[in-house]
């Protein structure tokens, strides 16, 4: 077809709908000028289609290009080549191309760009929903390509569009097995070069600062933080402390991490300690946009770019912008940092001057009572029980001396209040302490073998350093509200359901059916991310070695090519077979009979019909005349009588009888013509 040929009108509808669907998921990230550009371009193109507007002139096109170019430079130029900038550039390119899309060539370019935009969508989300959504768009792009290539007379109208869609669906379905083979077998390689990552996405989950009220805010979120699958048995809930960050710096209200201390841990003696079995599990983490991971106590993860720092925090070199799967071995019994360095000790005793005098006072009083650090810490924890303290999601707001106010006046708080206060008191009493933020507990999914950790599992607790024991976990919440630890945060939330009236979550918890659906969907999502999203180099190797066998790995390319060729030939044979013209069984029977005399004196004359043939034969052989005439009548009836249904029982029966007769006749006629031939030979 000619490249410069104009576009069939219906192709435009396909392209426009593809563009709209492609832009929708990016809408929230698009700057306002780009949204306006999209509206203008799509409307204008629609008006051109309707014949109410003309194509933009050269001046308008150049002007628009310059305007969009400078706008994107202003918007994204400062930060170098960011992924947002590239995606937005791609979108604006597509939009501008829409306006000057006159010829087949232009629409081909737009269709190609559309595939690149599809890929860009996956940078932001790889969930099942977005996978299906993008599959739908791919289907529409294929339809638009088909509509371009059909003959103009056949390209318009609703039926034609449905046929385009069906053809696209057929191609897609046939391409699916090919895709699967390639997906499984084509070797995955690690990134070739560093690429810009999405940046302006707000982070979710636990942050690197802890202010009173922050975690209780998070506790209202029902989003998943990560999913866990244990290799062996699932540990009891009170062991499920998912450590995130250790916060060492306190300025009076906010606990934050000391960024100066971040660096890979040197002593990894726990790894050589073979005396204990590590707890093994794998985590699929939702994108948090943060650069640390969660794990139980002292973890070991072998993943490029991940390291364990001095505070047993797992750091990643790049923020988690995609679902990330990592396998962890946790050493739960190994004490770490039995010796505390001078600098580390100073850091974990640091307190701001002249704040919370009453808490300091209390701490020094208790210090005098208990000489032993352990006993002192236990006394501090018991104090939360013996005095009247309340564990609540809605604590009152606190002022400058927050810890004093909480400890002596309001006495109501969530985990971060207790953890903050305890760490403060421990430090004031001279015991090195730090606040740890992360998640606690998990909910098992009954439909699959994994646990879900929600944002409402967010938790804060304390680690204190004891002579000879190293860093030990102290959780005031476990003392005060043990049901939260044992039964999970959900219980607590249910008790506070009234305070959560607005959240759909409160209703959800009390509807078993909805709950079941939610869990079922989540198990699907989990399977999806475990099998599909996190199919990487290592998983691929493991999978292929299991299926193909380690010894036969070098045959893999051959196997792949063979499978692809096999599938393509299946498509060829399938459609050729399907397109084979089915002949009437009666005609088949007749032709069989007549053709069996080919090359003999009884041969069918060119262009001779069945009736003529049978009667000619009958006239020539008085012996079989009756049988031949009977067959001719029978054939006539079957062929022409009031359109017999070929599947009807009587038709089948008659057909069977007829072919029996013909077989017999053939046997009787063939010796006779041999004689004839012998006679003619004389």
């Amino acid at each position: 077809m000619v490249v410069n040929a104009t576009i069939p009108r219906t192709s435009l509808i396909w392209v426009l709908s593809v563009m709209v669907l492609l832009i929708l998921p990016h809408l929230s990230r698009m700057p306002i000028w780009l949204v306006l550009l999209a509206l203008v371009c799509l409307t204008w193109r629609w008006l051109i289609y309707k014949g109410r507007a003309d194509y933009p002139g050269r001046a308008v096109r150049v002007g628009a290009l310059l305007a969009v170019g400078s706008a994107s430079l202003l918007q994204y130029g400062g930060e170098g080549l960011s992924i947002e900038g590239m995606v937005m550039l791609l979108i604006s390119g597509c939009l501008l191309k829409l306006l000057e899309m006159r010829y087949r060539r232009d629409i081909n370019i737009v269709n190609t760009l559309a595939f690149l935009l599809l890929m860009a969508g996956f940078i932001y989300s790889q969930s099942i929903v977005s996978g299906l959504y993008n599959l739908l768009i791919a289907l529409l792009i294929l339809s638009s390509m088909i509509s371009l290539n059909r003959a103009p007379d056949f390209a318009e109208g609703r039926v034609a569009q449905l046929r385009n869609l069906r053809m696209a669906g057929v191609i897609m379905l046939q391409a699916f097995p090919l895709m699967l083979v390639l997906f499984v077998t084509v070797p995955r390689i690690s990134p070739l070069w560093g690429v810009p990552q999405p940046s302006n996405v707000s982070s979710t989950g636990v942050s690197d600062q802890m202010r009173p009220g922050e975690i209780s805010e998070l506790a209202r979120s029902t989003e998943i933080a990560f999913r866990v699958e244990f290799v062996d048995e699932v540990p009891s809930p009170e062991q499920l402390y998912w450590r995130g960050l250790a916060l060492e710096q306190f300025d009076g209200t906010t606990w934050s991490r000391n960024t100066a201390m971040i660096g890979p841990r040197r002593d990894q003696q726990y790894l050589t300690d073979s005396s204990q079995n590590p707890l093994k599990y794998s985590i699929i983490m939702e994108p948090s946009q943060q650069n640390w991971l969660y794990a139980i106590s002292v973890p070991h993860v072998s993943l490029p770019g991940v390291f364990l720092d001095n505070q047993n925090t797992l750091y990643v070199s790049r923020p988690v912008v995609q679902r990330l799967r990592y396998d962890v071995s946790s050493y739960t019994q190994v004490p770490t940092d039995l010796l505390l360095g001078q600098r580390a000790r100073a850091l974990s005793l640091q307190l701001p001057e002249e704040t919370n005098p009453r808490a300091r006072e209390l701490a020094s009083q208790m210090r005098e009572q208990y000489a032993d650090d352990r006993q002192l810490a236990n006394a501090m924890l018991s104090r939360f029980l013996s005095e009247e303290y309340f564990y609540t999601l809605n604590p009152p707001l606190l002022g400058v001396n927050g810890i004093d106010e909480f400890l002596f006046d309001s006495r109501q708080g969530f985990c971060e209040h207790y953890a903050g206060a305890l760490a403060f008191m421990l430090r004031a009493a001279g015991i090195p302490a730090r606040v740890v933020v992360g998640y606690q507990g998990a909910e098992a999914n009954p439909f699959d073998d994994y646990l879900m950790v929600y944002q409402y599992n967010a938790h804060a607790w304390v680690e204190a350093w004891f002579e000879g024991e190293g860093w030990q976990r102290l959780d005031p919440t476990a003392w005060l509200a043990p049901e939260r630890i044992e039964q999970g945060a959900q219980m607590l939330l249910r008790q506070n359901a009234q305070t959560l009236q607005n959240s759909a979550f409160a209703n959800l918890l009390d509807r078993p059916l909805l709950q079941a659906i939610r869990l079922r969907l989540d198990s699907l999502e989990y399977a999806w991310s475990r099998r599909v999203i996190s199919y990487d180099e290592a998983t691929q190797l493991e999978f292929l070695q299991q299926w193909v066998g380690a010894a036969r790995m070098q045959w893999l390319p051959a196997i792949m090519v063979m499978l692809v060729v096999l599938m393509l030939s299946a498509v060829v044979f399938g459609s050729v077979h399907k397109g084979r013209r089915r002949r009437d069984p009666i005609i088949e029977v007749c032709l069989d009979f007549m053709n069996s005399f080919a090359g003999t004196p009884l041969e069918r004359l060119p262009g001779e019909g069945a009736q003529t043939y049978f009667h000619r034969l009958a006239a020539g052989s008085p012996l079989h005349r009756e049988a031949l005439e009977f067959c001719a009548r029978e054939i006539n009836q079957l062929m022409y009588d009031a359109s017999p249904d070929p599947k009807a029982a009587w038709v089948k029966q008659e057909l069977g009888q007829l072919s029996q007769h013909l077989k017999q006749l053939r046997r009787q006629l063939i010796p006779r013509h041999k004689i004839v031939r012998a006679a003619s030979g004389l």
Binding site: M1, N108, I123, L178, V532
Partner: protein, 334 residues
């Protein structure tokens, strides 16, 4: 300069290549009046759009590696799968169709010879957007002809009319056809170059000249004959449907003698012979062109005439058959 290089390129590289290609095709796909397209005679290559598609699939693949995006890998492989599959679909769109050309009407040099080509299928598979064209290779001026599209959706046969410009008189052998399709996705082009053995006769290009005057050959009245015309009243004959109303003898009708038609005749020289020697000053082709013009003109007036060529003589006659015989003789005279 540029045109000189182009000319040299054409004469030294392109034309020998084209010739070689056509010879190769002639061995591989000999001329036949009916041709079925099969695997041996169908050739395939990706189109420009196909290459673009592959390129974007590679871009998606590289992005998938760099961003470690499983679904982008899947998309890239889906595109690869679609690309490979369209190879099959485009091939199947052409495979198994039959082409047959019907003999074209003779035409005059410089006119288009119009061939009717029927495209049909023996199976029930739908074929769409099959473009049939007749590229003229080797000619000094490449005539790009837009093909016509055949569609075999519901019907098992379709027709395509091809007009091919002729330039010289004689037997015209149509060039090899080019049958191609890019359906369904436009990523692959499948084509075939069947030779349907399409011939037609091309008469010389008529060249305007004086008609031989009927007086020219002599004035004796016994040589005069009459041919139906408009000049002299000749007689009446019974009316036949289709006769002009102006020629109806209304007076005769008024007399009650029935519907009659008036007949007129033109006087004409019985022994009117068109002669080769008549145009002695002209080049051979021009002589034939002039004779051709005269044959056409005289036939249109239904005048009886004959033709004398060196070594050939056609007795006077009239009618379509006579005209065809003479024109054929002129077309094939050598």
């Amino acid at each position: 300069m540029d045109t000189q290089y182009r000319r040299r390129f054409r004469s030294q590289i392109k034309q020998p290549l084209d010739r070689w290609h056509l010879n190769w095709l002639a061995r591989r796909a000999p001329a036949a009046s009916q041709v079925s397209l099969g695997g041996r005679t169908i050739y395939m290559l990706p189109t420009a759009q196909g290459w673009l598609f592959v390129a974007s699939s590679v871009v998606v693949f590289v992005a998938a590696i760099n961003y470690a995006l499983s679904l982008a890998f899947a998309l890239s492989f889906l595109m690869t799968g679609v690309f490979l599959l369209t190879l099959v679909h485009t091939f199947l769109n052409l495979q198994g169709i039959s082409l047959q050309a019907s003999r074209a009407e003779a035409c005059f040099a410089g006119e288009n010879a119009v061939f009717r080509i029927s495209v049909s299928r023996q199976d029930n598979r739908i074929r769409e957007a099959i473009e049939v064209s007749a590229p003229v290779t080797g000619a000094a001026i490449q005539i790009k002809q837009h093909g016509q599209l055949a569609n075999l959706t519901h019907a098992a046969a379709d027709e395509v009319f091809l007009a091919i410009k002729t330039s010289v008189r004689g037997h015209f052998k149509a060039p090899r056809l080019r049958v191609k399709t890019v359906y369904p996705l436009g990523l692959w082009e499948a084509w075939s170059r069947p030779d349907l053995d399409m011939h037609c006769l091309v008469y010389p290009q008529p060249r305007v000249c004086d008609l031989p005057s009927s007086a020219g050959a002599g004035n004796s009245t016994d040589n005069l004959a009459f041919v139906p015309g408009t000049e002299d009243f000749y007689g009446l004959r019974p009316y036949q449907p289709g006769d002009s109303h102006r020629q109806i003898a209304w007076k005769v009708l008024a007399r009650g003698q029935g519907l009659k038609t008036k007949q007129f005749v033109d006087p004409c020289d019985v022994s009117l012979m068109l002669d080769w020697a008549q145009f002695s000053g002209l080049a051979l082709e021009n002589r034939l062109s002039c004779l051709c013009y005269q044959v056409v003109q005289l036939s249109a007036r239904d005048i009886e005439f004959g033709l004398r060529l060196p070594g050939q003589e056609f007795l006077p006659g009239r009618g379509d058959e006579h005209r065809r015989t003479l024109l054929e003789a002129l077309a094939l005279w050598s």
